[in-house]
Every structure is written in C-alpha cells, then in structure tokens.
Subunit: 256 residues, 2 copies
C-alpha cells in the first residue's frame, strides 16, 4: 500500500514545487514507483516534469470535480517509475466549485483510495495558500513535508502552518503526521540562513531533516528545460542534495 | 484624491511584500503621504513595518467584514508619512466569510472610497493567490504593479496573471490599468536573470520598469529587524534600487 505525502507551505516561493519534482525523481532513481499530483493551478510541477500546456488534457481538476477517476488522469513522465497527474489554471475554478460539493475536503482522498494504484509513494504539490486545494491534499495525506526557505518571512509563517496541520489532524485526518521540515535555498555566504536553520532546529529538533538544500543556480535553470535538476545536471550541488534527501527520507520512512 | 495600487502576483515569493514595504517607504521619504494595506493573512508587510502580532488589534479583516470603517484601522508607522492597516491570520477566515457577503468583491473598494483619506497613494499587498482577497484589491485599485522574480516559473505565470487583470478590468473594474512590471531578485551572475528580463521586455516593452531590483542580502535581513531596507541600510544596492524605483514610479505617474 502506498504512502501519500503533501508538500505544503502557505508561504510563497519556498521550494514546494522544486522539492516535489526533485525528491520524486530521486526516489524513482532508486527504483521506487512514484506518482506526483500537481494540485497547484500554476501547474509548475507539470512544467518542471516536461508537460506543455497543450499536453495536459485530463488534469487534477477533472479528478477533483469527479469527471474522471484518478487512474485516467495518470501520465508517464520521461523518468522511469515516475508518473504525474497534471494541472492547469482550470484548477482555480475548483476552489470555488468545490465549496458546494459533497465531501468537498475529501475528494482527493476518496479519489486516491478508489484508485488504489501500485505506487510506493504519492507526492502532492500544493499551492501557496491554506484553501480547499491544500486542504484536500492534507486530508488525503499520511504525512506532510514542509519546505522551509532560509529566510525570515518564511520562518515567521512556520508556526501558523504547524497550527493548521494540528487543526487538520484533529478535524479531518487523525492519521496525518508531520514528516519533517526541509531547509531550502540555504546560502552559506549569508548569516540569515544560519540563523533560520538554528532557529528551526531549536524549535523542532530532529523534525528538521539533516539534509539541507543549498541555493544552486542549476536548480532554477532546470525547469526551463522541462527537466528535474537530476536530469539537467546530475552532479551539481542541488542534485546531490536532493539525492541525499531521498536517502534520508527513506531512512525516516524505515523503507529498505 | 489618492491613487490606489495593488501589488499582485499569484506566483509565490516574487517580492510583492518587499516591493510594497520599500516602494512605500521611498515614496514617504520624498514627502508623499502613503497608506499600505496588508491584505495577506501571512501579515508579512505588517511585520516588515515593525508591528508585532500582539500590536495588531484592528486589522484588514475588521475592515472587510464591515466591523470598522477603514479610518479606524489605520496605524502610524515609525516612518513619517507612512501609515498601515495591519493583518493577521484572521484574514484567512475572510476568504470563506466573504463568499456569502453582499458586494463581496467590492468591500475594500467601498471602504477606501468611504474613508476618503488624504493619502497621495494607497498600496495594497496581496497574497500569492487569485482568490477573493486579491480580487478585492484589484477591484479597489486604479492600477496594478506586478513584481516579477527573474526566474523561469515566475515568467511562466505572468501571462495567466495578465489575462486575469484583463478579466477583472472587463467585469469588475473598468478603470484598472497595468502600471507595469518590476523585475526583482535580479542576479547579474546568472544567465537566467538576463533571459527572463529580455523575455519580459520583449513581450511587454516599456510596461517593464527600467529600474531593476537586484538580489541583495540586506533586503532579506531587514524584516527580521522590523524595518524596511531603506531604514536598515540606506546605502545598500537594494535600498538604492527601491529609491530609483520610487522616482521612476512618480515619473510614470506624472506626479511632480
Ligand atoms: N535550492 C534552490 N536554489 C536555487 N533556486 C531555487 C532552489 N529551490 C527553488 N528555487 C527556485 O526558486 C523559485 C521558487 O521555488 P518553487 O517555485 O519551487 O517554490 P514554491 O514554494 O513551489 O512556489 P509557489 O509558492 O509559487 O508554489 C523557483 O524559481 C525555483 O526554480
Ligand atoms: N531583492 C531581493 N534580494 C534578496 N532577497 C529578497 C529580495 N526581494 C525579496 N527578498 C526575499 O525573498 C523572499 C520573498 O520575498 P517576499 O516575501 O517579498 O515575496 P512575496 O511575493 O511577498 O511572497 P508571498 O508570495 O509569500 O507573499 C523574502 O524572504 C524576502 O526577504
Ligand atoms: Mg509551487
Ligand atoms: Mg508577501
């Protein structure tokens, strides 16, 4: 049976999509079967995995609205073992339309359970908000992984996010765990990164992953080629960090 | 009569709050009277202008819900000529509560018009979404300013945002203009920044401001001291860029 992860943080631009794409790719590279679900109307995860807008015919919107079962929305990416449910701006409409729907917060959970696919991991990329799309991801998830940019505003939002996760656990999804916090865009030339890292570890202890993702220009160049960093430049510091993250992720999951 | 600006972009982490805080401070520094309205539940603009959570008693939430008139929510900041309407996470509730309210998209517009304050400029910081909060800001605004991070994913979202602005102009606010696009976090060491800048100028011509905001660590350090970059380090490259931006902004506004 698969484990479902939501990659969430309402703070914008902290590396949710980048972590989704590159962690998923690194897990697939060690033989795991992974499904990424792009639940952000921006569709950045779909772009970063090589799908043009014109190539997104059946999307996450169709799954949430009930038009198709999840299995029908699954596409194979160019990475062996890595599948994707794409998204487009239509998903913006879902936020409004979901409000009047039955089981509006559980539609993704129901779709994932009904599909019962043979993936080892399902990883859901969330938009930078705590609305119905992120709620659907958190209700469907076994665990949430929080990318934390090493910047002051990002740290400020963390306690609000942790309270939200607690609330979701109490009201929607008692099984939801906090897998951990991954420090992203760490810049060793700048004190702020050190301070944020020390602060996060001080508050959260070993909930903060040992692996730290450095700021690395290759990571931000890769999406313009429709590729994960691991395919764009396997040996760069960014790729190596995400490979290390996947290893730590599996260790924490106690998966061989 | 004042001019109202929305600082908007659904892409996260592109510099909306940083531009709001530092443009407003630079305008106040040349004698303009400016009101910043923090319409993001993260409350980053409130933090960056020196207001702790405990110091935000009457907020943007109270204005949108109709509990208080706008004038009662206005606070003076430590910067002469710069006022603020703060925000807290309560604003998250407004997204849901506004749905059933009368004139739900115009509540900020009505509040600003009823208040008829003597500010020269009102600058509204938006959350990274195209929901009811951003809609309220765009319906209240005379013009929208779009910060564009010099990264691939940010450029990808720009056309979606421009279509949304057009739609708002047609359906909610026929006077809404696009003031322009400001390039942010430009890193001269990295080709990607040049490519994004060239691409944006190619598509939008002189709608892209001449002033480019460089990536500058002092800008990201300033919020942890509750100060705009101009107060934290007046001579850094970031502050100088925002001062130049304010001058170009006034020139484009044809204001002496
Ligand atoms: N480690 C890194 N080094 C350099 N650039 C990075 C890194 N991680 C992410 N980026 C870049 O920073 C920007 C923000 O990252 P990303 O889009 O993954 O964040 P996000 O949290 O998904 O954003 P949003 O809130 O809009 O969904 C992107 O342009 C991305 O390419
Ligand atoms: N020119 C710059 N140089 C360096 N860091 C910057 C610059 N502009 C913004 N930052 C930092 O980048 C991060 C994102 O900026 P900011 O929070 O202003 O973006 P935003 O668009 O308001 O984000 P959100 O979408 O979450 O509202 C912040 O930590 C900020 O301090
Ligand atoms: Mg994203
Ligand atoms: Mg912001």
């Amino acid at each position: 049976h698969h484990r479902v992860y939501a990659i969430a943080n309402q703070k914008g631009g902290v590396g949710k999509t980048t972590t989704t794409i590159n962690l998923a790719t690194a897990l697939a590279a060690v033989g795991k079967r992974v499904l990424v679900i792009d639940l952000d109307p921006q569709g950045n995860a779909s772009t970063g995995l090589g799908f043009d807008q014109s190539d997104r015919t059946v999307t996450a919107y169709d799954v949430l609205s009930g038009a198709v079962p999840l299995r029908q929305a699954i596409r194979h990416t160019r990475i062996p073992g890595l599948d994707l449910v794409t998204s487009t701006v239509d998903l913006l409409g879902a936020e409004i339309e979901l409000i009047d729907m039955d089981r509006r917060s559980y539609r993704m959970r129901d779709a994932v359970e009904a599909a019962d696919t043979d993936h080892d991991f399902i990883i859901i990329d969330c938009p930078p908000a705590l609305g119905l799309l992120t709620l659907n991801a958190l209700a469907a998830a076994d665990a949430v992984l929080i990318p934390l940019q090493c910047e002051f505003f990002a740290l400020e939002g963390l306690s609000q996010l942790l309270r939200t996760v607690d609330r979701i656990k109490r009201t929607f999804n008692p099984d939801l765990e906090l897998t951990g916090v991954v420090l992203t865009m760490f810049d060793k030339r700048n004190n702020l990164s050190e301070q944020v890292a020390a602060d996060a570890r001080g508050h959260l202890g070993d909930k903060v992953y040992d692996t730290v993702i450095p700021r690395n220009v290759k990571i931000s160049e890769a999406p313009s080629h429709g590729k994960p960093a691991l395919l764009y430049d396997y040996n760069c510091a960014g790729s190596r960090a995400y490979i290390a993250l996947a290893k730590e992720f599996l260790r924490r999951e106690r998966v061989p």
